[in-house]
């Protein structure tokens, strides 16, 4: 599942959760470019995006316990410090300082504009968030059983309507880059941010900017959720056919070819 990983993607920052996905003492189960993540907020409010794997016996940390300042593995009770990921306590060796090597891989992450952002790379500075202007309304993030490429392609055919029923004002969605798309209509802007989960899955994060609508908050959220889940149904139908058509050996399917080429393009465009 790692053929979507190239250096350009690895060094890019992606949204991997909404801020509201991380209530107190919760551990969120996320994934980016095939890498599973345990994402959690310590009691001081800081966010952590960790490799979802205990360095002791490999158990997923997303089933662990958020103790407030440490994450405790479900299996042998090892505790790992917020921030560094360093093991601070081993129940079976309570008088020994844990080895320095006993450390969870902590990815760089930060919280901004309603999202938790992370990168698998070690060097790239956090880009300016594309969301930092104007009033924001976060829509429901939707997981897709389809590649980010397929979702991005389908979004360019999506008709964005900012408000609810009987609204004839719709806009085409245009790509800004391989993982960011935008549409503007009647002073409303929608930004779509794609999180490549792995080669066959993506999460679509959506934000309305400067949305002015007489409809109430929940009505607007439901309106966009309905439209985007309809989009998902149409894409996943296509995606499922593509996947079932995936050949064992040589491949002459143009649709599948396009998928593969698209993965290559990710690196070029991102």
């Amino acid at each position: 599942m790692h053929n979507c990983r190239d250096e350009t993607l690895v060094s890019r920052w992606f949204p991997v959760a909404a801020s509201t996905d991380l209530p107190k003492r919760h551990v969120f189960h996320g994934q980016l470019l095939g890498e599973e993540l345990a994402i959690w907020r310590s009691d001081d409010g800081a966010v952590n995006a960790w490799e979802n794997r205990c360095p002791h016996r490999g158990v997923r940390l997303s089933i662990g316990t958020n103790l407030g300042n440490e994450l405790k593995c479900r299996y042998h009770g090892m505790q790992f410090a917020a921030g560094s990921g360093q093991c601070t306590f081993m129940p079976a060796h309570r008088d020994m300082p844990p080895a320095r090597a006993l450390c969870v891989k902590a990815y760089r992450c930060r919280e901004q504009d309603g999202f938790v952002w992370t990168t698998l790379g070690a060097t790239a500075a956090f880009d300016t968030s594309p969301l930092s202007e104007g009033r924001m309304k976060q829509l429901r993030s939707l997981p897709f059983n389809a590649s980010a490429l397929l979702v991005a392609e389908a979004l360019t055919r999506y008709r964005f309507s900012p408000t609810t029923e009987n609204d004839l004002a719709v806009a085409q969605v245009a790509p800004i880059d391989a993982f960011t798309l935008q549409a503007t209509v009647k002073n409303s802007v929608v930004m779509f941010l794609l999180q490549p989960v792995d080669v066959d899955r993506a999460v679509l994060h959506s934000v309305l900017l400067d949305a002015v609508s007489p409809a109430d908050h929940i009505t607007i959220l439901r309106h966009h959720n309905e439209n985007l889940t309809a989009l998902r149904r149409s894409i996943e139908g296509t995606g499922a056919r593509l996947l079932s058509a995936r050949p064992e050996g040589a491949d002459n399917s143009s649709a599948y070819r396009k998928l593969v080429d698209g993965r290559v393009q990710y690196g070029m465009a991102a």
């Binding site: 996905d21 919760h26 316990t65 958020n66 997981p143 439901r222 959720n225 889940t229």
Partner: protein, 213 residues
């Protein structure tokens, strides 16, 4: 004394143990060896439940089968707060009945997938998993909008109901059946909330949540 015909690894038996513990109702368990013994299909058990299914609850001469029906009975009879099955609130009763039926669908899919993987039942596991994912999408969306509207539970109001107890076990056990909950963040948060209900107990495969206070 209430008798529960019980199997340790059954989510449908567990939901009754869970509610009885929350309501501080005393009972005794009569162990039925569901797997590998198949005692639920034995002559003696078929006399108790001709459907050959667990759980069965016997109380004061009343013999009840079907986990959801038993939840209705237990809450109606033993919940002095009247909040787990509010008999005077038609809206809530309708919502509860809807989610009790949903719990049966979860049993037919997520539980079936677990039986196929963990207990080697002759079941179409892929079909069961795909059915469970379709239900979990509906559930996650409902719970996400609940959070937006300030509702923590499946039904309206600020208190959990037997609907939450009915749906909880086989969602929480889904990974035993190969059904990941990674795509359902609102479900994962709701599982934490259920686990923080006063009187919550675990079963094999279900872990407690961190204390959030």
């Amino acid at each position: 004394m209430i008798t529960l015909y019980d199997y340790e690894l059954s989510g449908n038996c567990y939901k009754l143990r869970l509610l009885m513990n929350i309501l501080s109702v005393a009972y005794q368990s009569e162990d039925v060896d569901f797997y590998p013994g198949r005692q639920h299909k034995s002559d003696w058990f078929l006399k108790i439940n001709p459907l050959g299914q667990l759980p069965v609850l016997v109380d004061d001469g009343l013999v009840l089968r079907d986990a959801q029906a038993i939840l209705v009975y237990l809450a109606s009879r033993y919940d002095t707060s009247g909040k787990w099955y509010p008999r005077d609130k038609p809206t809530l009763l309708g919502q509860i009945a809807m989610w009790l039926a949903f719990a049966d669908s979860i049993t037919a899919t997520a539980s079936a997938a677990r039986l196929q993987i963990a207990m080697f039942f002759d079941i179409d596991g892929d079909k069961a998993r795909s059915g469970a994912h379709a239900l979990f999408r509906v559930l996650d969306e409902h719970l996400w909008f609940g959070e937006q509207e300030g509702r923590d539970w499946l039904c309206n109001g600020d208190h959990p109901t037997i609907a939450d107890i009915a749906c909880f076990p086989y969602v929480a056990l889904s990974e035993d059946g190969g059904i990941s909950r990674q795509d359902y963040p609102a479900i994962r948060r709701w599982l934490d909330r259920v686990k923080r209900i006063r009187g919550f107990i675990v079963m094999s495969g279900i872990f407690p949540a961190a204390v959030a206070a």
